[in-house]
Symmetry: C2
Subunit: 340 residues, 2 copies
């Protein structure tokens, strides 16, 4: 068991090392059961004759409205994506609101409209909910938890765990990195940044469906949210008999994102995305999956960014643009709180 | 559509009239779909060949530890009960935590242990979760959202809606009312009350299973949480061709609960319970269901408290202990914020 902290720190919600320690020392320890113990993002359940994926996420993003989205849209996309990357088809969502007394009704309506619109786009139904209101000052405007159910085709059961990954497999991502994190950052009033960056916040189930339709050799998928692409890479290679090698030159970075990252000292590899999926696919099907992704609105800028290698097992490395090589480790503290 | 308010009030989370207005004018309006539009507490879904119940609840109770329970235990019981009263068998829970920076790890561990213990008691598995941490002062200690999935025997599909209710049906409750609300109230430091009241916080699925096992004539069940027994009664009779008549003398009230209610001016009929279920059953099976409930630890004090009548259609009335009669209406404002 990891060392117990005295108090909860922002880093415990970062998606990085501290959060992993908290999950393993506390939640996995006390809640342990065969489904949870698989450590997949969505729980895969057998209900009668059907297999389903089940996942939950709390959204506490600050500010609640940002270029390219808002907490409502994000709460739908985030959960839809968690289901979709497990290989399941997202069907139903629940939503639970915690609202601060005095919150403007017009803002709530804007958020609810945005959720409804995104649910329609993603072809999911919001079927149940709950509302709690807390006294002024006891929460920050509004928090939303969405929970999703998707139906899982048993052919895709191993995608969550990535158990079929082997050297030679290719890594694909569907576009630029760091947009969501830097959009939220630049929308924070105190920074007074003029850069216009849109969050990439989007439901990826349609895109993922297109990829699955052309290949039965997709080994793993994960949306690169909290902790960014780096955290997925580090997790994916940890304790494995293979390594991962990424080519920085293949990573797409929007100019404004690069600018703000440099200004504020963020490494874009660790910055949250909300519309990016990392796909690991057998080399034989890589170009066919790449083409399928590129044919979709949300995958136009897809690229093969690296591959699974037999060198440096257990580690992810990146070939930097200037010719060096550096290791990709999980986030150790908190880079950017309340990003989702 | 109900008139739109300018801002969100505490009453919008009370379980009473304001919350109903918010749900219908906003959530039902924008999220409308055939499942949501059934207005049941749990959504009833068909997934492949299986029917499931799906429900979510946010828990923001203050204080987080109170006699008889804590926010963790409550977050398991509350969702287990919502599933169970729909006639379904609770199986899986997700949990999502929003934690304030600086929250003591020992308190979090106590809460997680309590959740694990209650999940074990209720025979459900916590299979997936999420953790967010917000800066100090941006939430009040800890909020937990649990979402549950249960499998639904199609024989019980109409229990959520109560569509089979007719005059002559009997109303049963499994014990005293008002305990949870007054336990939380008396635990609030500012009141300095010395009364010892334990919350009735408990998972009712075992009890409900025993009742369903002896009768196929259970027409409706609902746990009497926010808004208390009164709110269920008012909702149950609203716009119906039947009325409901309750006998106050049959309602069990613990002495300490009665005392605090009188002291603070609460009507116990509107005070939240977290371990009480109202069951409507055909007269022919009422005594058999009553006996089954009484045989269970959580139903020892069960009683028939009233019946469905053909008089005063659309309304619930109560015969008071002093010989009068008064109407039971839904809560119009906020009686007791952050009770669950």
């Amino acid at each position: 068991m990891a060392k117990k902290p005295d108090t909860i720190l922002l880093g415990h919600g970062s998606g990085g090392q501290l959060m992993h320690d908290l999950i393993s020392s506390l939640f996995m320890h006390y809640f342990s059961n065969p489904i949870l113990d698989r450590h997949t993002d969505s729980a895969l359940l057998k209900l009668g004759n059907d297999e389903i994926a089940f996942t939950t996420d709390a959204f506490v993003v600050d500010p609640i409205f940002f270029p390219g989205g808002d907490i409502g849209k994000l709460s739908v996309c985030g959960t839809v994506n968690d289901i979709a990357v497990s290989g399941a088809k997202p069907l139903y969502l629940s939503c639970s609101f915690i609202i601060e007394e005095g919150f403007p009704f017009s803002d709530l309506e804007r958020i609810v409209k945005s959720m409804a619109l995104e649910a329609k786009k993603a072809k999911v139904h919001i079927v149940t909910g709950d509302t709690k209101v807390v006294n002024k000052g006891k929460c920050d405007k509004i928090f939303i938890t969405t929970t999703g159910i998707g139906s899982l085709d048993t052919r895709y059961k191993e995608i969550s765990s990535g158990s079929g990954i082997k050297p030679g497999d290719q890594l694909i991502i569907n576009g630029s990195i760091g947009d969501h994190g830097m959009a939220v950052m630049s929308a924070r009033n105190e920074l007074n940044l003029k850069a216009s960056i849109d969050s990439d916040c989007a439901s990826l189930n349609g895109l993922i469906e297109q990829a699955l339709a052309v290949s039965d050799k997709i080994k793993f998928m994960r949306d690169a949210t909290r902790g960014g692409l780096a955290t997925i890479l580090a997790e994916l290679s940890a304790n494995k008999e293979y390594g991962i090698l990424i080519n920085e030159e293949e990573l797409l970075l929007n100019e404004n994102v690069r600018g703000i990252c440099e200004l504020l000292g963020f490494d874009p590899l660790y910055v949250a995305n909300e519309g990016k999926v990392l796909i690991v696919v057998d080399n034989a099907d890589a170009s066919r999956v790449l083409d399928a992704l590129k044919a979709h609105e949300l995958g136009k800028d897809s690229a093969i960014i690296g591959e699974v290698v037999s060198e440096h097992p257990g580690k992810s490395w990146i070939n930097t643009a200037i010719g060096g090589k550096r290791i990709v480790d999980v986030l150790s503290g908190e880079q950017l709180p309340r990003i989702c």
